[in-house]
Symmetry: C2
């Protein structure tokens, strides 16, 4: 019986990750095997991700075969590839053989070619069918997310009969499917007709029939629905599990919230990382060559926009030669426009990702963003006009600077709203490409407007 003091690993998963990382990096790994066996596989996976390659190998070698399958599932794909490299074919086979078929399907494409032909014959027919079923769906569809292990019952059964059936299932398999909050109700053709909550099942008169108790309002998730739309359904409806049906309405599986949580976390994470030009599943300790190559492309794209801005400045070399203060002040205009535009871009990109923006309200939003840019543009134009006029004792220079800033901030609001809308119409993810395009545009407009106005008014 628990004495009321929570063990540290239950109260917070952060601490053992750091402790494990410390001990390994300091070479204090004597009792590693024992310590690892005390930790949840997800915590070990976190520690693996927080450590360089050689320590990952040590952990893999010391991990018990029973958690190795979980480790492969939990780590990012880059890191998974490393673990698979460390492992012998026998170790890999032992690691994946006891996983669920849908988990095996998730790993399938990353495993060496010789594993599947050895794995499949060792699965029973039902599991092999389940493996094939899930494997044929894209990862980011409802079918790819689903779990085939579920219990379905017929609507005409009594609750007493359902309870007897469940006891038989448990007797046969020893445990119940994980994350069961409800049973699926199907007709004789295995078409989905409703759900039966376990909490209802345990609290009613056993003589009631399933049909009287079930929720027939629930609509199954289509197998082809995108993972992000599945996540929205779970979030909006506070679901724990949902039935998945094929095009004919036949129940083929069940999505559980733990997989949806991974989708939500993964989507948010990948948006953040790809927005900075990093791979969606980045490995902190990826080999240097890999990282250099991956980042080089992004830097190259930025270099192109930077040279475009440089070309705009070059057009006004003669102007700068006459008034060198322009060179001092021009980065301020471009940088403020970039920052203001990025605020608009972030809002609009997020609105698109949440499916909250479409033609007609985007127009409203654009008007709103332009008004915000106008007021903030005027405010900061006044500040920089004063600052530059005092610094260089030149009111005309100050006014030109302020006017350029106001114009650039308006242009930034326009670009920040339209760029993600246009990119997303073109099928390009605005979370990835929006920043580069915006920065190019605000640099060109920022430098260009200031230098052009200066060439016109000041010379």
């Amino acid at each position: 019986v628990n004495d009321g003091t929570a063990a540290p690993e239950a109260a917070d998963d952060a601490e053992p990750v750091i402790r494990l990382a410390h001990n390994l990096l300091r070479g204090e790994a004597e009792d590693l095997e024992d310590y690892l066996s005390l930790l949840h596989p997800a915590v070990v996976a976190d520690a693996i991700e927080a450590l360089p390659r050689e320590n990952r190998q040590t952990i893999w070698a010391q991990a018990s075969p029973s958690i190795r399958g979980e480790l492969l599932l939990e780590v990012k794909r880059d890191v998974r590839a490393q673990l698979i490299e460390f492992a012998s074919s026998e170790e890999l086979l032992a690691a994946v053989i006891d996983l669920e078929p849908d988990e095996q399907a998730d790993l399938a494409e990353d495993l060496p070619a010789d594993i599947l032909p050895r794995l499949l014959p060792r699965l029973d027919d039902a599991n092999r069918d389940a493996f094939q079923l899930v494997r044929d769906y894209p990862h980011d569809s409802a079918g790819g997310l689903m779990d085939v292990d579920h219990i379905s019952v017929r609507a005409d059964l009594s609750i007493a009969a359902v309870l007897r059936y469940l006891r038989r299932i448990r007797m046969r398999r020893g445990s119940m499917p994980e994350h069961s909050d409800q049973l699926m109700v199907v007709d004789r053709d295995n078409r989905f007709v409703g759900t039966l909550k376990l909490s209802d099942l345990v609290s009613v008169d056993p003589m009631v029939t399933v049909e009287m108790l079930m929720d027939s309002e629930v609509q199954p998730v289509a197998d082809s629905l995108e993972a992000s739309a599945v996540a929205r359904l779970f979030e909006n409806r506070d679901l724990i599990s949902a039935p998945v049906a094929d095009h004919a309405g036949r129940l083929i599986g069940r999505i559980t919230v733990d997989d949806v949580v991974d989708v939500i976390r993964g989507t948010a994470d990948s948006r953040l990382l790809r927005g900075a030009g990093l791979p969606a599943e980045v490995d902190l300790f990826a080999p240097v060559q890999t990282s250099v190559k991956r980042r080089a492309g992004w830097l190259g794209v930025h270099l192109a926009t930077a040279f475009l801005a440089a070309w705009v400045i070059w057009l006004f070399e003669a102007t700068i030669e006459q008034i060198v203060a322009l060179a001092v002040l021009m980065p301020v205009v471009a940088s403020m426009a970039g920052v203001a535009g990025n605020q608009t871009l972030t809002l609009v990109t997020r609105g698109i990702a949440l499916a909250q923006l479409d033609g007609i309200n985007t127009w409203r939003l654009l008007m709103l963003e332009l008004r915000i840019a106008l007021w903030n543009g005027l405010l900061w134009a006044a500040v920089v006009t004063l600052a530059a006029a005092l610094w260089y004792a030149d009111l005309a220079l100050g006014l030109t600077f302020g006017l350029a800033l106001a114009i650039s901030m308006l242009a930034a609001a326009l670009t920040g709203t339209l760029v993600p809308v246009i990119l997303s119409r073109l099928g390009v993810d605005p979370a990835v490409a929006g920043g580069v395009v915006l920065m190019g545009a605000t640099d060109v407009v920022g430098f260009g407007s200031f230098l052009a106005l200066a060439a016109w008014f000041l010379i």
Copy 2:
């Protein structure tokens, strides 16, 4: 019986949001009341967030009192404040009276002062106690997240007795607590001793006792645990619900995964938004004055760093006067350093948020990032050297440009790694402040190194 064709609103929640927004913006809102009653409150809340103020008021007015409480809970705080403005005291009281006590506690601080004194006397004793309990915890703690509605049983009961007890509860209250996947097992002092899965409960011999079936390995979540750590526990352990205990180990509530999903989404969202200097719970259609004020502060901070960079350039005015090409090329150096530094910053900030980085492995990561920056620095230095040498037919200028770029990219890797670590040690969220500090630093180093090298080598 379902005919196998999923209704559109079940298959995807995005479509009705857009349709509702369109109809309202076009003034086609005749059957609004009927249409709203068909939608899930979360979908209506999404539509409210996607619309300007006047349409929000229309939806609120047409929404049935039974979903208004849900709407208040689902929308962002800014939007909630607007809805509360639209509503009379009577409407608000009717909207919140049937919510769960923990939901009422979440709304409490946003409701007008006259609502609570009218609400509390109308709650029964148990609900009033529950309200007070949750309200006393910070929003972002396990206590603030928890749900007080749960069922607990004693370990010495038989399963048959538990089933009888559950039937009595259902008879009395008409329904079971939502999201029940397990019952909580407590001792006579209400101290948590374990959990009993419903899927086990429905599938065993009723003569077994709770003690034989329960999972006594489960440790309760401490009421003071931070929401982000709670989310990590749920993610790592694939939990659906978890017991919450006070310092004495007494069971005081239960956290369910639907609230954790909101925490995960909210955290990711707020990181993205606050990184761009926007409020964590931004309202797309906030009034112009509000948005202007909120964004002005962020722009002001950036203006300060931009003027710092301008001051660095000003130090080299004489150099630029002699070689105006420096003014053309210098933004390239600063901008490339900013982009490269942002990649490192994003990685490190994320590692800190995931509790994967701490003293010893940060040092390893710094070495790795410096090596990546060295190689990418040399690569792009070669490219820009060549480009500038050809453009200006001046090899010395090209070499100075390339050297400055390489130096700035190394400095960016150093800054990108150390800034978030230092900010987080100082208790400042690196996701918010990291970008400004990094941009200031890369601008200063980018402009400064190029101009200083030019002053030294080229003049």
